[in-house]
Amino acid sequence: MNEDAVLTFEVKLSASSSSEIKNLIAEAKQAKEENAQDRANLSAQKKLQREQNDIDKDFASFYKRIEREEIKAEKDHRKMILKQAKQYSKQQAKQQKADDDEDELIADLLKQLSGEAEDEAIALAGFVPPSRNLAGKITGGLDDIDNHGVNNLKQFAQNPAGMIGNQLLGMLGRAGPYGALAAAIISIVISAPELYKAVIEALAAKGAPLNQDWRMSMEEQNSLGFDRALQFRRITGDSPIITVDTHGYIAGDPSFTGNSLVDSEITRTNRIGIQNQSLHFWNGI
């Protein structure tokens, strides 16, 4: 006998998680995510903090480096300034030496040109230094040069090439002894062009022939030289103006109306001292 089910009911016995358990799982997962998020945030914060620290460190390093560079630049700047100052001092000293050498050269030249006799006369006069005496001569010579058509030696100095040549030298030669002096100066300038500026500057220095103040003073002195009374007073010390030259003066000669600035060829016959001259004059000699 084959027997089988007449009635059949399918059954299933299983369990599913309760809502409490599902909620717990969901909450645990959410907590895990939040924890992960917190960790991510914390990590991000730490990373940000590290980056900020790195940036701060970089800035600090940068500022320190800038500061060092500024200090170094300042030191270098000071060093450079000191070096430049030293170089400048050296150049100044060198320039001063060159100027001194040039002055000495010019002084020697002018001294040679002025002649020993005049120096002796000036020394006898004892009123002025030889250089001023010589300068007076040059001033007179310049006046003579002006009279002979050379307007201004300074113009020549500014443009020597335009005046170079026999024409100029010949013209200066015709100007008399001071023209010759000027020609000699010009010859120096021509032969050594690098010196012309130094020569001109020397002539234009205070107390030198090309200096305007000095020339005015000399003109005044020269004009005084034509007045015998003033000349006498000047010699005797009454005049506040000190004469600069006794060149060609003949004591007691009533016809003497000029001085040696006009003509250096006048024979100098008297080398008597000032005091003796005064005595001689009043004695009617």
Binding site: A5, V6, L7, F9, V11, L13, S14, A28, R39
Partner: protein, 179 residues
């Protein structure tokens, strides 16, 4: 990884494992549970509904798969030569039968029964006013009113599953802890 994350992972793992472990436990003890709680309840229901003992005896459980099974009733589960159930009695007593004609299989035979015994399968149609309770009756064929619809299997199954749910929590509590 912070100290909190392993704890959370462990908690999630355990919580998610509860369902799986419970189902494994139920699958493992499914036969026992049904035999102990569901089948007896269904038999009790059948008996209470005054169904034949064969009906209750035919109620059985068989496991068909993971966490699945069948409640069957095998009463009358005999196949004839054509492969059909000859008399599915459990089916008839569970879902009832309509009014129908009955006659003896042997053309020369008769149907017989005791009248007035309150028999369920005695047709009132053939109750004759002259018949007295206890009187033997004979018939060459007659209509019967059919069996009433009891749904004893459904009712029993419902009550049985309810009992299973109530009992299984108590039973499985200690066992799940042990496992």
């Amino acid at each position: 990884m912070t100290t909190l994350e392993p704890l959370l992972n462990e908690s999630i793992r355990k919580l998610e494992a509860v369902e799986k472990k419970t189902n494994e436990y139920l699958d493992k003890h499914m036969i026992r549970f049904f035999r102990n709680f569901v089948i007896p309840e269904m038999k009790s229901v059948a008996m209470a509904m005054n169904l034949p003992p064969e009906f209750a005896d035919g109620i059985k459980f068989r496991k068909t798969g993971k966490n699945t099974g069948q409640i069957i009733n095998t009463w009358g589960g005999t196949y004839n030569s054509s492969g059909k159930l000859a008399t599915p009695l459990a089916l008839w007593f569970n879902y009832g039968t309509p009014r129908h004609w009955i006659a003896p299989k042997n053309p020369d035979g008769v149907l017989t029964w005791i009248a007035g015994a309150g028999g369920r399968n005695a047709s009132a149609i053939f109750y004759q006013g002259s018949a007295k309770p206890g009187q033997r009756m004979f018939s060459k064929g007659h209509y019967v009113s059919g069996l009433p619809r009891t749904e004893a299997m459904e009712i029993g199954l419902e009550r049985g599953m309810k009992r299973l749910k109530e009992s299984i929590a108590k039973v499985s509590e200690g066992e799940l802890k042990d496992e």
